[in-house]
């Protein structure tokens, strides 16, 4: 059962990766054995969220025998619809996994504990933990990895990734738990960033504030060029106009925020605060942005959960256990030689934090179903 779950997640991961790099994929077939039917509930959730993308249709094919003509017929059916058929396969063991994580204290340590919990739940082989501190010795660890026949590393945090980058290039490295990746450590192949996927952010925005037509974002291209590229596509598919402003320093950013608020239309505009240490300054910019957004009735949403407590309308933040599971699935994909899972990927395992006070001020009333989907509600009282 555990193996099956692991395989299914691997498939989903491959599917997501295929989608992100091949916009022409229109149909996704999920083929599984009838005997595994009860396990379907494990992957319907993620697949349904994929299904929400316009132009994507998911077909479920339950087979009692893999040689069943149904597979052939289905393939024909897809071909008749002029679909491009790509097969994403998963399975087989990638052997034991090493997890590198930063040796830092609480409370951030809990973040990694939860991610590792997800990794352990999803891995079908032994998971060895390495807390990476100042005394990390690449040679010693390399020989230990060889001894244990470990060929796959899940590297968490900047320190975890930095340490993994120093190892033998043949070792497969999947990284996670990082917002911004230092250029020197980008050798790694797959990085599941902590930056929430703009597609999910925009979908949430549209569902909570349906009248929104334009989203403003101020970003430092050195940090977020990759994310803004994704955001443009995501905005287009949601029917939103994304107005992007590049700023290389705080002074520039402040001037841009100033002009955004001067010209914004409260009925149709919203402001997105990405994870950007240049343009989203916590102590000076944020209080004033929140004050202006309140005064002018412009929704502000964020990629940092703490901003919701301070008055942003909502934020998406990491579901650590799910992220851990996803890291394993990516590792399987990468180890199986699938090139589609390479690169920096945005965070799709997210939870929602929501500020009811701000919503009420903006005249927004989430539906009961939406309310139930919020994992954190502010203000606390």
């Amino acid at each position: 059962m555990k193996l099956l779950f692991f395989r299914i997640l691997a498939v989903i991961s491959l599917v997501v990766a295929s989608f992100s790099t091949h916009a022409e994929v229109k149909h996704i077939a999920v083929i599984y054995a009838e005997g595994d039917d009860p396990a379907q509930q494990h992957f319907t959730g993620p697949l349904q969220s994929i299904d929400q993308f316009s132009g994507i249709e998911i077909l479920y094919l339950a087979l009692d025998d893999p040689d069943d003509p149904l597979l052939v017929n289905s393939s024909l059916l897809l071909a008749q619809r002029k679909a491009i058929i790509k097969l994403a396969t998963a399975g087989g063991s990638i052997g034991p996994i090493a997890v590198f994580y930063p040796d830092i204290g609480e409370p951030y340590r809990s973040v990694f504990s939860k991610i590792i919990e997800g990794i352990e739940e999803n891995a079908d082989a032994k998971v060895t933990r390495y807390a990476i501190g100042n005394n990390f010795n690449a040679e010693t660890v390399s020989s230990e990895l060889k001894q244990r026949d470990i060929r796959v590393i899940i590297a968490l945090g900047r320190n975890g990734l930095h340490a993994a980058s120093a190892l033998d290039k043949n070792i497969v490295v999947v990284a996670g738990g990082i917002v911004s990746v230092p250029a020197s450590d980008e050798r790694s192949s797959t990085i599941l960033s902590l930056a929430p996927d703009p597609a999910l952010l925009f979908a949430k925005l549209k569902s909570l504030a349906p009248k929104t037509q334009r989203v403003h974002v101020v970003f430092d291209p050195r940090q977020n060029a990759w994310l803004i590229k994704l955001a443009r596509e995501a905005a287009r598919s949601q029917g939103l106009e994304l107005l992007t402003y590049e700023a290389g320093d705080l002074k520039n950013a402040a001037a841009i925020y100033n002009s955004i608020f001067a010209n914004a239309d409260p009925r149709h505009d919203a402001l997105w605060l990405p994870q950007d240490s240049t343009t989203v300054d916590e102590s000076v910019v944020l209080p004033l942005v929140l004050q202006e957004s309140w005064a002018r009735g412009i929704p502000v949403f964020s990629s940092n959960v703490a901003h919701v407590k301070r008055g942003a309308l909502f934020a998406l933040y990491p579901d650590n256990i799910e992220l851990g599971r996803n890291l394993v699935a990516s590792a399987v994909g990468l180890a199986s030689g699938n090139p589609d899972v390479r690169g920096v990927l945005p965070l799709r395992n997210v939870l929602t934090a929501f500020n009811t006070r701000t919503a009420s001020h903006l005249g927004l009333t989430p539906s009961p179903a939406q309310k139930r989907s919020f994992s954190l509600l502010f203000p606390e009282q």
Binding site: R109, N159, D249, S277, R310, L376
Partner: protein
Amino acid sequence: MQRLRPLSALLLVTASGLVAAQPLTEEEDLAQAYGDKNFVSIATGTRQLLSKAPSSATVITAETIANMGARTVSQALEAVPGLHVSRNNLQNIYTPTYGMRGILTGTSPQVLMMVNGIPRTSVYLGNPDEQMVELPVDNIARIEVIRGPGSAIYGADAFAGTINIITKTADDIDGTSIAGGGGSFDSWDTWFQHGGRHGDLDVAAYFKVGSTDGQRRIIRHDAIGRSGPVNVGYDSVDGQLDIGYGNFRWRTSYTLRRDVGTGVGIFGALDPTGKIRSERLSSDLSWSDANFARDFSLTLQAAFMHLANEVTTPLVVIPGGVDPTFPDGMIGDPSKWERQARFSATGVYSGFATHRIRLGLGHDNLEIYKTRENKNFTLLPPPSQLPMYRASGANLFLSPHERRVNYFYLQDEWNFAPDWTLTGGIRRDLYSDFGGTTNPRLALVWEARHDLTVKLMYGSAFRAPSFVELYATGNPLIMGNPNLRPEKIDTLEAAVTWQVNRDLQTSLSLFQHKITDIISQIGDTYRNGGKQKGHGGELEVNWAATDNLRLTGHYAYQKNTDETTDHDAGYAPHHQLYARADWRFGSGWMLSGQVNRVADRKRAWGDTRPALPDYTSTDLTLRSIRPRQGWDFSLSVYNLFNADIREPSRADSGIIYDLPLPGRSFWLQARYNL
């Protein structure tokens, strides 16, 4: 253009030019997704709940409790603004009493204590626990304390305030731990805790056993002029089981206190031999469907409780050779058995755009179904010594009685203009013994700015007379009065919460209340008649000074006057100042220090003793904060400077120098997370 000023000002501030971002550290990087150190535990924790109605509320989380080093609920509650924990001075048995906003009486029935929203109240005295139960905190997720009236939602006794203890669920625990601890007064305890998902069931389990000899501070002068140590030791067993299955949740809780000492003795005469046993079993089943119908959520609940308070070694009320009427002394073992059944339905309708309607109804059956008393005396005229006998009829302290309550309530949260909400609520309670009572509540909330909220609140509340006040027998000098009405309170409050900046939050609450129909002993029985008025306020500050240092503090002031005598109502502190610093250091260590100043406790009318001395208590706790697995340690020093802490006795108790509380004491605990 006016509104553009702040951001324009920012341009000036930053005009000196800024260099490109420096490389981020690990924690700075994570902070961009999870928030800073003060926030990350929220982002990795579980869902929060919205409040049921606007109020002046304080939430004490499990983390705060751990930082304080609190081992019991009463220790944790001392950190709540406007709340002071004192000790039972009606029976002098050291049970904690909770004074809120200056309303502090012998057994504090004016504060409603609930566990998961279900009252812990025993109808005997109207307080949560007659005996020294001192609930442990290990299995508590948070404690929500509301100052001011809550009867419009919670019914009886949500009078001066409401304390709701929320126990941990499988999500909160998420793993298995075993722990053991020991400390001063030959105290030890050990416990086991587990939370996890087993098939379709969410299971949380907690079991604890412990024992303490209790502090042994000296009573210099008891009711009969003797001196000796207080007797507050006990053995304890606590167990809780919480099982969730789909929409159902079943919770069961067991509390046993055995060989409980009698404090200074129920008559104020030290009684080192008397022992009491208190056993409580409660269980509730609830079914909740957030989507019962379109825009309508529904919760149904049935709750049961059985409480046995039994004297296991007879109490020596007065020893032999003191009173010539009772040459062998007065010895007795008054015991009572109580059971309660509560059924309720609560619905919330959110289908209207600007209204959110909460409605509920319920039925409670509260009963003392058995009482027993063997004694060697009678107080019926003529009072005399007798051989030990089983009392009955008028000679028994209380005969069995039952109370049935039906109630319904309605509350509307009306968002009548942007940033303005008016919450109106009303609850009608029908009691089988004293009749009906209706209690309204009105709250106007204005979200004045993005960082400022203003509230204006009015509410009325009632306290139901206890069975002792209604039905006591056995002593012609203090008889129950079945014609009593509930005590009433009307409260007006104003509150402002201001998020000064990211790191500093402050709030101010002001209140004024008027109490009528106060039940007190007048002549040979209990009567309504007392009046009291009070006013005051609480100022709270919460400051994240640095990433690793958080400072919290409050100042509370109250002045309550007994209007029948125009004298201070007594007992409760007029001024209370509290500060706590939580400092995170090294890799996974937390050092917390708290200072609590309790000042200006006047004597009640007719008490000519000098005012109770002020005191300042200081506690220190060092603990490790480890990941999920492995060892965790905690070391606490309470009352570090050995201050002489005393809580007030009653003037007529004969205990002249009040009730002393422990001097410096220690506690060391180790916990292993499997």
